[in-house]
């Protein structure tokens, strides 16, 4: 009986936090999304589905987000995996720490400043000028979807590297030896032993990066020149420029629903992969 009370007491702060910071705002968003824009902006109470019916007006923003977020996640995975593999399996212990620190160091500076650096790298006097030296002219990088993709992959790479690194680090090296002893060539060992064992890391990394990318607005704003629009940018605009809180809430609620659906599907997929292999049990 006493243990139950202690449990409740200890869970109180977390419960209060979630109620005030998560549940309550979501309820407000839900209520606002059925309202109307005030005459000078803001919100006036109403019950209408107009805001949801107007969602197609943000189709491109949803499309950009739903294309570039998975693309960015995939690109980050393809770049991060070899790096994490090298760090966890190949690097000598002496170098490992130094290299790990080097992956973390950029995090000491705000993402805002690092993204600003990319404005100069991708801008007319950056890479395009270098390309002109070798005869490739007229390349424009800044303010294109490609620039945004580069920015998000750069910004979120460490979040992908670390989970994969951790899962590879735990990998029992004797398994690799066993596989080799039994006659597997290195590629097959990788495919049948290393890769399956690192799936928890891949799954976690992809999830982290994907969820954050779905809400991203800073990188598209800075590297897309206001032309490559994510849902995050549409939301900022609706609340801070056109002051249409009702419509903004409807867009936000829709984004939450899309996220719930995609993440649930994703977890199911990962769980199924996990079931097939008893050694992989995650999430």
């Amino acid at each position: 009986m006493q243990g139950k009370w202690i449990n409740r007491l200890l869970l109180m702060p977390a419960t209060a936090w979630f109620l005030v910071m998560l549940v309550l705002p979501l309820v407000v968003v839900a209520i606002f999304s059925f309202g109307e824009r005030g005459a000078a902006g803001g919100y006036v109470p109403a019950f209408t589905l107009d805001q949801y019916l107007n969602l197609p007006a943000r189709f491109t923003a949803f499309k950009n987000t739903l294309l570039l977020a998975p693309a960015g996640t995939l690109a980050a995975l393809l770049i991060a995996y070899p790096l994490a593999y090298f760090l966890a399996v190949r690097a000598s212990p002496k170098w490992k720490t130094i290299l790990l620190v080097m992956v973390i160091v950029p995090f000491w500076t705000s993402i805002l400043i690092r993204t600003y650096a990319w404005i100069f790298i991708l801008g007319g006097r950056g890479i395009p000028t270098l390309l002109e030296f070798i005869g490739i002219e007229g390349v424009r990088l800044i303010n294109t979807p490609f620039a945004v993709l580069v920015g998000i992959v750069y910004g979120y790479l460490p979040l992908m590297v670390f989970p994969i690194y951790v899962s590879l680090e735990k990998l029992d090296k004797r398994l690799l030896e066993a596989s080799a002893d039994l006659g597997s060539p290195p590629l097959r060992t990788f495919r049948q032993v290393t890769l399956p064992l690192s799936i928890p890391g891949i799954a976690t990394g992809c999830m982290l990066v994907f969820i954050l990318l779905m809400g991203e607005f800073l990188i598209p704003a800075l590297l897309g020149g206001g032309k490559v629009f994510f849902i995050g940018n549409a939301l900022v605009d609706l609340f801070l420029q056109s002051r249409n809180w009702a419509y903004g809430s409807a867009v936000a609620a829709t984004l939450v629903i899309i996220m719930l659906v995609t993440v649930t599907l994703y977890m199911k997929l990962v769980a199924r992969v996990g079931e097939q292999r008893e050694d992989v049990s995650i999430l």
Partner: protein
């Protein structure tokens, strides 16, 4: 940035700290960040963070408090004036820089802006009054404001229903700036040419503002409609043009100076002072007022309701309206003032500058933005659709 005397002086300790703060907060170019993210606040100058540098107060301690928060526009003040104010009053000036009136309104509507003074444009003031967001000014606290010294057409918008809610800061025009190195000798004079050349020779090189009033207004001008039109059919025409032009734009962004200076962009919608600053440093940058018309505007100082450092806010407005101080402001930022006392102190060549004071026949075509234009939901949604298209 205009070259001024400060550029020739070694960086002071305080200036260094200010720059560092700015850098830490990510405002390498503050204006850029603000414009594109719409966040609308990068708190910049925090001289108060360096206690050792606080000057002695001429006012008795605590009379005005130790700080005042000013929400204003980029490149719109002479920082030496703020230092002088701090020296005289002991009040440190904390500056929040914004990219559009919409952002300012959004922030005040959301509540808790924390500003003591801000700088709204003419067409917003009736909305602020209607929404009860600003207070009637206590003119006794602004003795430097002499109503009869100001040209009425730039001062009238501050008075609503016979009550003064805002006093004039600067006025100006919204035209466009074009890098004439790329025009092949062609002289641009109209908004029609602005949009047409964007679709052809200037593809990928043009910038438009990141707010609805001017971007839509100047697209309306392509068809010869009013800058302030809220007519659904006319707005539909403007939207069609904007969507057609969008793939040819370099960016939708009110921070146009950096890309124009480094050569990425060749043309942009532009305010008087930015036109002047760019033209001073790069003579090939020409400031054009479209023959069809466009915007003329007037900015004001106003005090939000429940301002935390109200007395200090009034003291700051009064200080900045001192003609000698105001003249230094204009020399630094290149925006004209409507105050005859200040103009007496300005050099003749500035008062005859065609960028600051365009020819009368050009001025005659310009329109002040209207309150209905600011709050029109269709215009707001049109720009949002254009951006997310």
């Amino acid at each position: 940035m205009p070259k001024d005397y400060k550029d020739n002086m070694p960086i002071s300790r305080r200036k260094f700290i200010e720059e560092l703060r700015r850098y830490e907060k990510g405002s390498v170019s503050r204006r850029h960040f603000l414009g594109v993210t719409g966040l609308g606040f990068a708190t910049a100058v925090m001289a108060g963070a360096v206690p050792g540098l606080r000057p002695r107060k001429a006012y008795s301690a605590g009379e005005l408090g130790d700080r005042v928060v000013l929400a204003t526009w980029p490149n719109y003040h002479d920082e030496a004036n703020f230092s002088a104010f701090t020296k005289a009053t002991g009040v440190n000036v904390q500056v929040n820089v914004f990219g559009s009136n919409e952002e300012m309104l959004a922030k005040l509507q959301a509540g808790g802006s924390g500003w003591d003074v801000f700088v709204p444009t003419n067409y917003t003031i009736t909305t602020y009054v209607g929404e009860k967001l600003i207070e009637p000014l206590d003119l006794k606290m602004i003795p430097n404001y002499a109503a009869d010294a100001f040209e009425p057409r730039f001062a009238d918008a501050g008075t609503v229903g016979g009550t003064v809610y805002a006093v004039p800061k600067n006025w100006g025009t919204t035209g466009y700036v074009v890098n004439t190195k790329h025009t092949k000798g062609k002289k641009l004079t109209t908004w029609k040419e602005f949009w047409d050349i964007t679709k052809t020779d200037f593809s990928g090189r043009t910038m438009v503002h990141d707010y609805q009033l001017t971007t839509i207004g100047n697209a309306l001008k392509y068809f010869g409609y009013s800058f302030n039109s809220v007519d659904p059919k006319e707005l539909a025409d403007a939207e069609k043009l904007l969507l057609e032009v969008k793939p040819h734009l370099f960016a939708i962004n009110s921070d146009y100076q950096p890309p124009l200076r480094n050569g990425d962009a060749w043309m942009s919608m532009c305010w008087t002072g930015d036109g002047k600053q760019l033209n001073t440093d790069m003579p090939e940058m020409e400031y054009v007022i479209g023959k069809e018309g466009g915007e003329i505007w007037s900015d004001f100082y106003a005090v939000p309701k429940r301002a935390e450092h109200r007395a200090a806010g009034y003291a700051l407005i009064n200080f900045l309206l001192d003609p000698a101080v105001n003249a230094r402001e204009t020399l630094a930022h290149g925006y004209p003032v409507a105050d005859s006392r200040t103009n007496k102190l300005l050099p003749k060549e500035l008062l005859e500058d065609p960028i600051l004071y365009p020819a009368q026949e050009l001025l005659d075509t310009l329109e002040f933005g209207a309150a209905a234009t600011l709050t029109d939901p269709n215009r707001a949604e049109l720009l949002a659709r254009f951006k997310s298209a």
